[in-house]
Amino acid sequence: MLLPVIRHGKMLTGFLLSCLLAALISCGPGKHDSQMLRIGLMEEPRTTNVWLASDANSRKVLSLIYQPLYTYDPDTLDLAPWLAASMPEYDPATESYTIRLRHAKWSDGTPLTAHDVVFTVDLIRQFQVPRYYAQWQFVEKTVAVDDQTVRFFLSQPRAIFLTKTLVSFIVPKSQWAPIAQQAGSTKKPLVALMNAKIPKPLGSGPYMLEQWRQGAFLHMKKNPHFFGKNLVICNRRLGPHADAILFKMYSTADVAILALKKDAVDFFWWSIQPGYIDGLEKNRNTKIFLSDRSALYYMGFNVRHAPFSDPDFRRAATILIDKDFIIERVLQGYAASMDSIVPSENIFWHAADLPQYGHGLSREERIQMAFRLLSDAGYTWDRPPVNAAGKVVSPSGIILPSGRPMDAFTILTPPADYDPARATCGVIIQEWLKDLGIPASTRPMSFGALLQRIKDRQDFDTFILGYGQLSLDPDYLNNFFHSANDRPGGWNMSGYRNPEFDRLADASVQAMEPARRQELVWEMQRILMADLPYIPLYNPVAIEAVGTQRFEGWEQMIDGIGNIWSICRVKPLAAPM
């Protein structure tokens, strides 16, 4: 095989190199279409089937195609009519909400009607589509009053109807009805629905899919029938102004940042690491946006067994954790300290009057305070961390109030290659706990295994996890801490059970009046921050970067500039404002 190669190697090498040289000469950097917005993604979207899309990148693309009835006002985070023409009208007699629709069209020019809304709800309910069914389960009946009016009858009052249900999107009956019918006739209807191939999703958003070259790029064109064109919603006149969007895939942030600096993309739709900021700031063609996020990174306890079942132990651990240190040293200052499960950036729902354990104290003061708390609770030491003179010393042999020595335990974290911040936090917290003689050690493990162990098997002591994008509605408090969700696979991973909390959570689920629900949610936070099944640690800042040479007008809101408002508002620099 190699013999001819050896004999003619020089010739072949020369030929191949000539070909490559010719390619180099004939090609150059791609020509810019000044009206095309180029967005870099970290990974390729996995699907255009909206029911299957579980990855962030598919959702980013699909969010430009499928639209909801309502969205969030970027300034106030209140519900704002989107496909709907006005706010929902509530009829307490029938427990129903009536919504008038705008005169919107699908991207093929056919009208978007109340029948599409009814179809979407029925489809979700019929197939019990994961992620969506829970949000529509309590909607007993959906009726198209006329083409532009839809009425939802609720089986019971549910607060999330106004904050979560109505912000889920609507799909066209004309495209999905045949697919649903075919899927419904199979043995596995849900899988058939989720695996249905949708080469050209029909949507009502500002853009529509033009071409998707798997592994390379995704090209979207302006939807000529977009209902929002030139409309003013939330004091913003909508476009879109870019003729097309080109999604480019970068597998590493390093290369995507170089692409931004080199003007190969206009926006990298990904929250970048603080380490890139210096380089981007020095580049005059890029601009950085720092935005608040609705995120939660926390340490959780398995409160089903000692010592984690003891609130005093959890409080002492909280006192020992210096969140400001973590933010400064691990996150380079690009995060906010958290004193509640609800991020403080979620202005309406965050309770302000919560305890701040150990805030502003020195290391020694923290140890002394935690020592006093545990001593009062009946914990003893062979050698206490604070000696008779009140000085902090190296402790040993911590003993539980029951008289049993405290067993060594583990802090489970994702591995450093998945999230270096959480892995590092685990190591730091482990050392801080040892200051009090608490025998903790960190154990990083793969994310899948970690989740299975905590959520399904409930076989753990403590863990550090996070939610990068919590919903603005605080319904997750119910998921995380209601005793009904303390079951294998349930979201109450800590196993927290508090009848008073359950009562408030049940009431908040049904509180349709925002002010009343706000009070309940604040009270729930007070209970949680007293009991501390989770220690909230930090809420990272969303760091995003854009190129400044071609487009302007990015809309910054919670979670960053990657949102429908930006997509509808960014303009090519040459265009008159």
């Binding site: 190699l2 072949l12 090498t13 180099l24 090609c27 020509k31 390729e44 992620r131 290369v255």
Partner: protein, 325 residues
């Protein structure tokens, strides 16, 4: 043993090994912690959602039932549907494979050609300064950390110097224009191959060079080389006609297997250069427990490597009649 018997015996062995791999892969993925549904979960997914999805994907069945389905599907050519893409895995592999083969096969061939070419010459200068320096340089290159050299080449040639593409296999701006011709598209792909090819070339050539050099040094001690020289042939003729063809046998094995493994792609190379190949997909499939995609990809790679082994064995026997099995 004649050639027919050799092929028959090796084919049976390959089938047995393939069955072991088939079973091993199944066990490996199903016993490992984490499951595809747990990797899909977010807060909007209730335990009931998870249960429903697990049942629909057949993951609630006993392991042996799943294994029997897996074997049955394999025999009938059904490799399943990717959990995350919702598409047949064969389709996904079919989309990704050409990109991988194009890059890695070209890189292997170029590196092997250059390695053989330099290797046979360097052996001629054994003990001289040029031999020492080239050997050291080859060793350094073949031990370079690939992502580092890849990122460095992107930064240096694509960002700092300019003129080379930053990443990917094509220029999207060019491909979205409807009237872009096939020649321009082919040239664009070749243009995007330059940096990854260069990186792979730097890392891979050294090992071929060293193998060829070492083999040449052994060959040069043979009597027929002495005979060739005694016949009055030029050094060039001795090297190219008598020594190099015989010395190339070990390189045949190395290149054969490298070509086979080129279907595996290189996860790191593909990731750094955003090359849309099978290596990147494999990483994604494994880390997200996308069993059908991961298992089908590994099976495909195993099959190609096993067949390549067979071909190399046959080729060896053909090239060197002294070899018998």
């Amino acid at each position: 043993m004649n050639m027919k018997k050799l092929i028959l015996r090796r084919s049976i062995e390959i089938l047995a090994v393939f069955f072991i791999i088939l079973t091993g892969l199944f066990l490996l993925f199903h016993i490992a912690p984490g499951d595809p549904v747990s990797m899909m979960v977010d807060l909007t997914m209730t335990p009931e959602d998870v249960e429903r999805l697990v049942a629909q994907l057949g993951l609630d069945q006993p392991l042996w039932t799943q294994y029997l389905y897996y074997l049955k599907n394999f025999v009938t050519g059904n490799f399943g549907t990717s959990f995350h893409y919702g598409r047949p895995v064969i389709q996904i592999i079919g989309e990704r494979l050409p990109a991988t083969i194009l890059l890695f096969t070209t890189a292997t061939i170029l590196a092997a050609m250059a390695g053989v070419w330099w290797g046979k010459r360097i052996a001629w200068y054994k003990g001289k300064a040029v031999d020492t320096w080239v050997t050291i340089f080859s060793l350094v290159c073949s031990t370079l950390f690939l992502p580092w050299i890849a990122l460095l080449s992107i930064w240096l040639f694509a960002y700092w110097v300019g003129g080379f593409p930053l990443s990917g296999m094509m220029t999207p701006e060019l491909w979205v224009v409807p009237d872009t011709g096939i020649v321009s598209k082919a040239a664009d792909v070749a243009y995007h191959m330059l940096l990854p090819l260069m990186t792979l070339f730097i890392v891979n050539t050294g090992s071929y060079l060293l193998i060829m050099r070492s083999s040449m040094l052994e060959t040069l001690k043979e009597d027929y080389i002495l005979t060739a020289r005694a016949k009055g042939l030029t050094e060039r003729q001795v090297r190219n006609r008598h020594a190099a063809p015989n010395a190339a046998l070990p390189v045949v094995t190395s290149v054969g297997l490298s070509l086979a493994f080129s279907v595996n792609g290189g996860a790191l190379t593909e990731t750094v250069f955003s090359w849309p190949g099978i290596g990147r997909e494999l990483i994604f499939a494994v880390s997200n427990s996308d069993y059908p995609l991961a298992m089908a990809s590994f099976l495909f790679i195993a099959l190609v490597v096993l067949v390549a082994n067979l071909i190399v064995d046959i080729l060896y026997a053909y090239l060197d009649p002294r070899i018998s099995y």
